[in-house]
Symmetry: C2
Subunit: 407 residues, 2 copies
């Protein structure tokens, strides 16, 4: 039914499976001893030992000093989060935010680049690329495994910019293909609201929730959907564009009234102090806001609605009336939370998306023909033991390692 490959396995597939199992056990946790991994993966200690040996030579794991314990000290291994880096990029109209992170998602370094005036398509690209190159130059030992660029506008599944009002010069640009030529690593492009949703799911208000709606309201309002734990983009990446339905009022004055960022915060502050006029304005905003939201909530019946973007400064002042109105409009109202992630949200989501790609590649023992971006892997870096090559299946690497060892 799906594009599931029919291929069944050599014994090598088994090995690959076990490489993955061990890696998965080690990933994101404290260093573990061989025996602990053996228990966790239900493999024999012997096998784990051999697998760890391979992984160590490939550079994916590393031995650390043994811990204190009774009996003979056990060797401990940790996942080498520094075996690769990923880059998340948030492109705004006048500035660009870049985050470099390791494979555990720990932020290594953040950088901001500014763009004055009205840059051309190429100028914008070059500025971003140069900023990224500068950031990478500070960490020369690292190997970039994936990057993701967030764009305000509609981006299709292949990473082409379909329609961006804030960045008109990028309309029609095949951004993913462009960026994958930069550093010889897979590159992705994605709508910024979608990335914000990924960030909330990862480290924000939507942790542990697999079905939620992410509202993003700044100068205009968009929404992103996470369903079944996965981003739902829709046919052309336009899922969540409910503002298109005039009757729901999302383009009406009730919303515009509160969307100028300068004024907004003051109104919310006044409402918090109990100023009747401000309370009334917020309430009217919430009623309209809830109406459009209800249409989406009734459609997908999510667990949660996250309010983010410039409007999220309101916090409970807005979330509270939203709860009230949604409770009236929906048979089965979801939770409502305001985002607490800051300006780094979108870039953080881009990091997550890049990491997802790395994970998919690491942990899908079938050759994973799924949605790989244009991949000009460039020259092989001579397979130094400390620099795992990226776009080949694990078992192939092991195979070549063996050959080299026996020669």
């Amino acid at each position: 039914m799906k594009g599931q490959a029919l291929i069944g396995g050599d014994p090598a597939v088994l090995r690959r499976l076990n490489l993955e199992a061990v890696l998965r056990a080690l990933r994101g946790r404290e260093p573990m001893t061989t025996s602990q991994i053996s228990k966790a993966s239900s493999l024999s200690r012997q096998t784990v030992d051999q697998v760890l040996d391979d992984l160590a030579r490939l550079g994916w794991v590393e031995e650390v000093a043994p811990g204190k314990s009774i009996g003979r000290p056990a060797r401990r291994y940790r996942f080498r989060a520094d075996a690769g880096h990923v880059l998340g990029i948030d492109v705004g109209t006048h500035s660009v935010l870049l985050i470099l992170a390791d494979l555990d998602g720990k932020l290594i370094e953040t950088r901001r680049a500014v763009l004055d005036g009205e840059p051309t398509r190429e100028e914008r690209l070059t500025t971003i690329r140069d900023a990224a190159a500068g950031l990478l130059a500070v960490h020369p030992a690292s190997r970039l495994r994936a990057l993701c660029v967030g764009v305000p506008g509609i981006v299709d599944g292949a990473g082409r910019v379909r329609l961006s009002t804030p960045l008109p010069e990028w309309n029609g640009l095949d951004l993913a293909a462009e960026a994958s030529g930069w550093f010889g690593c897979p590159a992705f492009a994605e709508n910024d609201a979608n990335l914000a949703a990924l960030a909330e799911h990862w480290r924000g208000a939507a942790q542990g929730t697999d079905d939620f709606i992410q509202l993003l309201t700044g100068h205009r309002t968009g929404a992103a959907l996470v369903l079944g734990g996965r981003l739902h983009r829709g046919r052309t990446g336009a899922a969540g564009e409910i503002a298109g339905l005039a009757i729901l009022g999302w383009d009406g004055s009730d919303l515009a009234d509160l969307r100028g960022e300068a004024d907004t915060a003051q109104v919310f502050a006044a409402a918090a102090d109990g100023d009747p006029a401000a309370v009334e304005r917020v309430d009217r905003f919430a009623r309209t806001y809830a109406q459009g939201t209800a249409a989406m909530v009734l459609t997908v019946n999510p667990d949660l609605v996250v309010i983010s973007g410039g409007i999220s400064v309101a916090g409970e002042i807005l979330a509270d009336p939203m709860r009230r109105y949604l409770g009236r409009l929906c048979l089965d109202a979801p939770e409502v939370r305001a985002s607490e992630l800051g300006v780094e949200t979108v870039a953080l989501g881009a990091v997550r998306l890049a990491l997802d790609h790395v994970d998919r590649h690491l942990f899908d023992f079938r050759s994973a023909p799924e949605s790989q971006p244009v991949d000009r892997a460039g020259a092989e870096p001579a397979a130094a033991p400390s620099a795992p090559s990226d776009e080949r299946p694990l078992n192939q690497d092991v195979f070549e390692l063996r050959r080299a060892a026996t020669a």
Copy 2:
């Protein structure tokens, strides 16, 4: 991240993987020779031979007469679609439709049972169970592997009836648990609109489309969502209940006007003949209908909207104005098609859901801890070679077969 088991593999896992690969190659196709399977699965002919031997002894495949060809005639094998049956049940207010199908989804037999008056909870259950038992009695050799019951109303993920207006006596009933006690096979319960969507995806207007909205309009209007090729139920199974938003008009008179089934067909016929009053009524209906649909379309941005239920008799007479209005309301309007499946739609979807369970069990080489229903498998049927046991992993069966052979 997901509940992915960490288990890595014995050599037995490899075997299981290859059993599945061969089964998958054979499934739903014409009989194949060993060499053909070898090519399709990229396993060696030798291995395929051995695997086929196991599968034959387990009753999953069968040798058929060799075809005409040059050279030594090759033995040919086919998937034994009759190695098990599934049952799909559509429960209505006054009647119940049952379909028995084989593992290829071929319909074996259909039966209808009627229910007069206002049966109690138990009476309705008993009537259905007896009808099913009668149907199964006609095919004593078959082994029932799963069944699914479709219910008009909200059904949660565990198969409990949350809220059913047409079947009030079933409110709160744990239908899946109830039905899984009937024949010692896994049983599922699901909302009828959801099942209709599965049917359309399988053999109806939505073939080949992985993101679509299924509208179901009879006496009332509901909707089902298929996203990413999978049913999206929502938190409490209430996804698609857009009628709850009054402003969209789905509870208003424009729709009620056309929903009495007796009258409806006449109006559509008159509109097809060009009667201005009828055309006007259909157009007004379509406008309101499109408005509620647009809210969902803008939310999920699907490829297709399927119109089904009593209203689908309209065909193009309704689909056409729907296209027009959706085109105005949506930035990115999807295709619109009227269902052409008949009264068996829901029962057919129930068959599909039951088959999905069988497939998942057959083809997921990990022990598949996912969403298994209450499973009182009952007494083991002494493992006759022609009656594969169902709720155990394939490789365990093979193992026991080996043991018996060497003893």
